[in-house]
Amino acid sequence: MPKILSKEKLSENISKIVVEAPHVAKATKPGQFIVVVPTENAERIPLTIADFDKKQGTITIIFQIVGATTRILNSLKEGDNIAHILGPLGVPSHMEKFGTVVVIGGGVGIAEIYPVVKSLKETGNEVITIIGARCKELLIYESELRTQSAELKTTTDDGSSGRKGFVSDELKDIINSGKKIDRVIVVGPVPMMRVCCDVTKPLAIKTMVSLNTLMLDATGMCGICRVTVGGETKFACVEGPEFDGHQVDFGELASRLSAYKNKEKEADNHVCRLLKNG
């Protein structure tokens, strides 16, 4: 079973763990994800591989505690085993020398862009990174990303760090400055990805988004992850998670993401009770 080698709290409800999983690390490329089942009774949840070390045989995952299964995962400690890890999954992020690439991360999406930014830089691109969160405490990975980016811009909703506003405001500024942008990659909450796509669409700047649909098997067998892209149904787990943002039906995506809201709350309350009672 994959063992947790180290665990770190990045903010109030975001954790980072490094897991021993040599066969996963060996095959991973930026933009791919894993499925985690922390204990036998938990859900299968998808999490982006935030970093990987082929030599050490380790992968890093960063997750926000948003429900029952992430709460259980967060209750595991250094040295504990995770019941199941499956990966790498999904199509890797397409890499080539595009020129200037703006990479945008919001929320835990900030951690998810790290391997992509790193790889884009290695491929010879000029990377401008924009990260945004609700407040300063949630702006994770800032120094790591700064070393990999030609420029790093930060925004917070409350103005506690960087610009007070949204990542899309920074994006607009870069565009308005007249700089030629060859590609935009956005990873984060649905409304954020949607707004960024609205900014770039009229200018026909190719914009890729990484979709965090609900998933179950994550191997193409169930279809819960279906999204409409350019009028066609796609399975995000095997055909994604990256898609052309200008083609994605975000309304449908948002609705499908909330399909189990009530049940998720119920499960989370159940787990909270269990964890409290030890």
Partner: protein, 451 residues
């Protein structure tokens, strides 16, 4: 053979048939007239020596009887439950010409259950240990059978399974009340006792490619199944509340959503459930819905009951349990409420026209017959296609246009040393045909490595 009453069984997930008693089993086995040229065996895809095991059983020698079955079939408790005997051995049984054929399937089940109850599992015998390592992809019936047979011959077998639980459709597809998971686990334990190593959480194609496996293993068997759910591509199919049968059954069987929140994967069903399709999968999804507490469950099928591909027995049980059959009906669109949750299925009435290529009469829509069925859950059970992942990641692996991996009569694919069988080759078929394919490939692999 006794069955649990409808009122009792639709409230839980326990098995419906009770199985033969000892006396029933012996007297049923005695009906076999021990044909010189037994037709039943010809109807069995793995050629179990049926009169042979029935003879022991009639004499009350259960131990020898089950041993006889296991010479050719390593999953008797599964086959006794889910094989379509009425189209195979029992269809061919000579007694069936004038009366009832011998209840071969139920007797097979009886023996496997007896063995389990008595805990008499013989220590698995395997042949002389060989050095050759063989990789098997997928732990469904095809992969397990191939692995078991090769292990018996002494090879070192590693099974790679992408999911976190083994068994393929036996585990994630067929529900508990038709095939208890305890039984699947025990059959898999038997395969493991032959020395087979099973590695879960290993998606071949992603973690290792087939070419990478060939560097480490002398041969590879692909038994990755028909896991790709088909949709109808009609408007509204992506609304919340519209499931593929795979998703629905996966949540319930694999993730045990029926024990929510003890198990954390949720499932949401409304009072009114519609299942689209007429196969075993549709019957299973419908009967699961009843057990999860749906008030009204209907099957929407575009032909009539005569054309349904599901086993007669399962259609009959579904009817008994109160499932409503809306035959000659085709959904053409779904509508949703303001939250995006499905609220009705727009359907059109059909009639049967000329026979099509399958020999069944083709359903044709009746102009202007549109009507709506109110629903809160729709389960699309119109079939599955071969899992495309491995073919996508293996450029030299030849496939049919519809996705099936192409093999020779011996089960060899277009790549030397790589064999395939089961649903990845046939498209959604049966447990026993998958097992037959696994056996055939095991033979061919043994032949190749002995040459």
């Amino acid at each position: 053979m006794g069955e649990r009453s409808v009122v009792e069984r639709i409230t839980d997930f326990q098995e419906v048939p009770l199985g033969y008693t000892l006396e029933e089993a012996i007297s049923e086995a005695k009906r076999c007239i021990q044909c010189k040229n037994p037709q039943c065996v010809k109807g069995c895809p793995v050629e179990i020596d049926i009169p042979g095991f029935l003879k022991y059983l009639a004499l009350g020698n259960f131990e020898s009887a089950i041993k006889k079955i296991k010479e050719t079939n390593s999953l008797p408790a599964v086959c006794g439950r889910v094989c379509p005997q009425e189209e195979q051995c029992e269809l061919k049984c000579v007694l069936g010409v004038k009366g009832e054929p011998v209840g071969i399937g139920n007797l097979e089940r009886f023996l496997a259950d007896w063995e389990r109850a008595e805990n008499r599992k013989q220590k698995a015998e395997s042949g002389e240990k060989k050095k050759d390592k063989i990789a098997v992809v997928g732990s469904g019936p095809a992969g397990l059978t191939c692995a078991g047979d090769l292990a018996r011959l002494g090879y070192q077998i590693t099974v790679f399974e992408s999911l976190h639980v083994t068994g393929g459709v036996l585990t994630y597809g067929i529900p508990e009340f038709r095939l208890p998971k305890k039984i699947v686990e025990m059959e898999i334990d038997y395969i493991k006792s032959l020395g087979v190593e099973i590695k879960t959480d290993m998606l071949i194609g992603n973690v290792y490619t087939i070419e990478e496996l060939l560097k480490e293993y002398k041969a590879v068997f692909i038994g990755s199944g028909a896991g790709l759910p088909k949709f109808m591509d009609i408007p509204g199919e992506n609304f919340d509340g519209v499931y593929s049968a795979n998703e629905y059954l996966f949540r319930v069987n694999m993730m045990k959503a029926w024990k929510f929140p003890e198990y954390l994967t949720p499932i949401k069903i409304g009072k009114k459930v519609a299942v689209v399709g007429g196969g075993n999968v549709a019957m299973d999804a419908a009967r699961v819905s009843l057990r999860l507490g749906a008030e009204e469950v209907c099957i929407i099928y575009r032909r009539t009951k005569n054309e349904m591909p599901a086993r007669k027995e399962e259609v009959h049980r579904a009817e008994e349990e109160g499932i409503i059959f809306k035959n000659l009906t085709l959904p053409i669109a779904y509508h949703a409420d303001e939250k995006g949750w499905v609220k009705d299925a727009k359907c059109i009435q059909m009639e049967l026209g000329e026979p099509d290529s399958s020999g069944r009469r083709r359903p044709v829509p009746i102009e202007g017959s549109n009507f709506k069925i109110p629903v809160e859950t729709v389960i699309v059970a119109i079939g599955n296609s071969p899992n495309p992942l491995i073919p996508h990641r293996t450029p030299n692996l030849k496939t049919e246009r519809w996705g099936g991996v192409i093999i020779t009569n011996e089960g060899a694919t277009s790549i030397s040393g790589v064999f395939a069988g089961g649903d990845i080759v046939r498209g959604a078929a049966t447990v026993i045909s998958a097992m037959g394919d696994g056996k055939r490939a095991a033979k061919a692999i043994h032949k190749m490595l002995s040459a």
